[in-house]
Amino acid sequence: MAKLPLPAEENLSPGHMGCPGCGACIAMRLALKALGKRTILAIPACCWAVMPGVYPYNSIDVPVLFTAFETAAASASGIRAALDVRGIKDVNVVAWAGDGGTLDIGIQALSGAVERRDDIIYVCYDNEAYMNTGIQRSSSTPIGAWTTTTPGGSTGNWKREPKKSGVEIMVAHRIPYAATACVSYPEDFVRKLQKAASIRGPKYIQVLCPCPPGWKSDPEKTITIGRLAVESCMWPMYEVENGVYTVRKPAKRKPVSEYLMMQGRFRHLKEEDIEMIQKLVDEEWELLLKKEEMSQREKPADSRGP
């Protein structure tokens, strides 16, 4: 991938309330660099509802509407409608929500806004659990993870179900643009946001944000862990533009164990559990490559309508 210089612009001030090593803070800083000052954010209940600062202080230098948990997408739709009716055309409207607010409680509003083709960018910053309320399971929590509501205990009842796929749900909505990203790859995330901003209609980016308290990882290892997520294909990096998949392939695939073992939330896993996860990741990866092959072989531009 071509190295792009990051925009120098800073629209996130120091003094926010994020934890040390917070991936979601890096994501916000990069997003505000990428999208610039002519951006309005709708933020529902999530870490980022608290991290900008306690009223009247605010570390985000663009307008923010703090809104109810399940309304990020509908709020973005409302902002876009009001800007349109007021004749304001050059503003990015961004829904900025966590994985629970996106894939659990907020999925109805997200589905509605995408089906309506509302011109918004939806960023799901995925830290793989309800981190603001203290590490409870979401449908985006990966299989095998400990959370406070999947504590394992003597029955080994850690999260037994695979992670719900936000991008695939969006692809099923025939969204013009959907992508995964990871804060460990800043140029890539910035490029995806800027691409999203250049496309009309709904755009969805799910950015993996390691969370040291929730993942029980070292704050200084955030970037390393994010890289391992991508290199092990636990978190495949890909874009889907009008149905066409483009997958970023790691130069050398690493085993998932390397990724899992850096985090306390997976420490309870036995060898056979890790094998099971490796098998699942391999299958998903193969499927993804097949999707890429299929979608690139066909020329979907003709068949997808306006």
Partner: protein, 395 residues
């Protein structure tokens, strides 16, 4: 002014058009549907310059209205019953954010069992959300009140949301001749929406962030309380202004009819008041001194008006089209509480009637008046009475 034969729902649609609502986000629910259908027609034909968002739920409808209002657009939506209940969380959000959203709610019973007919449980259970609440008796009143409510809600010292209700089918689907005001006249009455704070990339602010216990949350709540109290006077001013323009007014917060020298009155909200007026006329003709006090505005509550009435009238029957289980009819408990500080309090009795759309006939209301006149001399028989209730043995 054009006279048209329209139903209550269409009156709501015309009102939103005349008020030049800019963003409409709506989800269909019986019996609200033709409110939003006609607005869709207005927008589609270019008669109304607005953005119409076909949201996937009432919850999202209100979320979109909140966001659009916060971005400086005048907003409108309409709902009913379960839809209003689904919006409940967001109603708090709208008032807390001081956004003057205006909505029409068709008063409908809530399930189970399924019932789409008139009942005021839906809107009355939103009492504590910080929304102004108006109950209309006629189609004309509904149309006029929506326009007036925008002016009240958008007053810089008020900035609170409000809704106007119409009883399911009694108003929503019955046709009456209605004066549709000229657009130019409404424009002269209602200036464009220009809020002091909005989401603006040239003046970035965070709206609705976190507030700690030692900071401003409590003060912000107090400001809402103050604004709601101020709205009483503003409602009366705006109605006076509307009367000067159109010749029409509806009695402010408490609409009284035949209360002078009355021995007993009935207090109620909504369309049952029309039936009660007829009964008052008939009974006055035969020398029975009865009257009507229609609660036009539930929030803010007409406390002062009711106290003035309570000083003059010895017996008040309160007719509720819903019930608060474990206590009494909500209008009954509200009215009793307003009258408590009076030294000589009137007798207050609760009639629960018309629940789930059961017809409240003139005969029913006449019986209530007869009962009130009787207890005026003999004393209270029962504090609460469910009227026209089918007993199990006669079902």
């Amino acid at each position: 002014m054009v006279k048209k034969l329209i139903n209550g729902n269409y009156a709501a649609s015309y009102a939103s058009k005349l008020a030049r609502a800019q963003v409409i986000a709506a989800y269909p629910i019986t019996p609200q549907t033709n409110v939003v259908e006609l607005i869709a027609d207005f927008v589609a034909s270019g008669e109304m310059k607005a953005k119409y968002i076909c949201v996937e739920s009432e919850h999202s409808a209100m979320a979109a209205c909140i966001a659009a209002s916060a971005t400086g657009a005048r907003t409108f939506t309409a709902t009913s019953s379960q839809g209003l209940l689904l919006m409940h969380e967001l109603l708090h959000w709208a008032s807390g954010a001081r956004l003057p959203i205006v909505m029409v709610n068709v008063n409908r019973a809530v399930g189970p069992p399924w019932s789409v007919w008139a009942d005021q449980t839906d809107s009355i259970s939103q009492r504590d959300t910080g929304w102004m609440q108006f109950y209309s008796e006629s189609t004309q009143e509904l149309l006029d009140t929506v326009i007036m409510l925008y002016k009240v809600a958008e007053s810089p010292d008020i900035l609170l949301p409000g809704f106007v209700t119409e009883d399911a089918f009694y108003l929503s689907h019955t046709y009456e001749p209605v004066d549709i005001p000229e657009q130019a006249m409404v424009d002269s009455f209602l200036p464009p929406f220009d809020p002091p704070f909005k989401l603006d990339v040239d003046r970035p602010h965070g709206l609705g962030s976190l507030s700690m216990p030692h900071q401003w949350y409590m003060e912000m709540r107090y400001n809402i309380a103050e604004a709601m109290d101020l709205s009483r006077r503003r409602i009366l001013e705006v109605e006076r202004e509307w009367r000067e323009l159109t010749g029409r007014s509806y009695g402010g917060l408490l609409d009284e009819y035949g209360t002078d020298g009355a021995d007993a009155i009935i207090a109620c909200a909504g369309t049952a008041a029309s039936t009660a007026r007829e009964v008052v006329d008939d009974m006055r003709k035969v020398g029975k001194r009865v009257g009507l006090a229609r609660i036009r505005c539930l929030r803010p509550f007409p406390t002062e008006e009711l106290r003035a009435l309570g000083r003059r009238v010895p017996v008040i029957g309160v007719m509720d089209r819903c019930y608060t289980f474990g206590d009494g009819g909500p209008l009954f408990t509200e009215i009793k509480s307003a009258l408590y500080q009076l030294r000589d309090r009137p007798l207050v009795k609760n009639f629960v009637a018309g629940v789930g759309g059961r017809d409240i006939t003139m005969k029913t209301i006449e019986k209530m008046f007869e009962n009130l006149l009787r207890i005026g001399s003999s004393g209270l028989d029962r504090e609460k009475e469910w009227v026209d209730l089918k007993r199990p043995e006669v079902v």
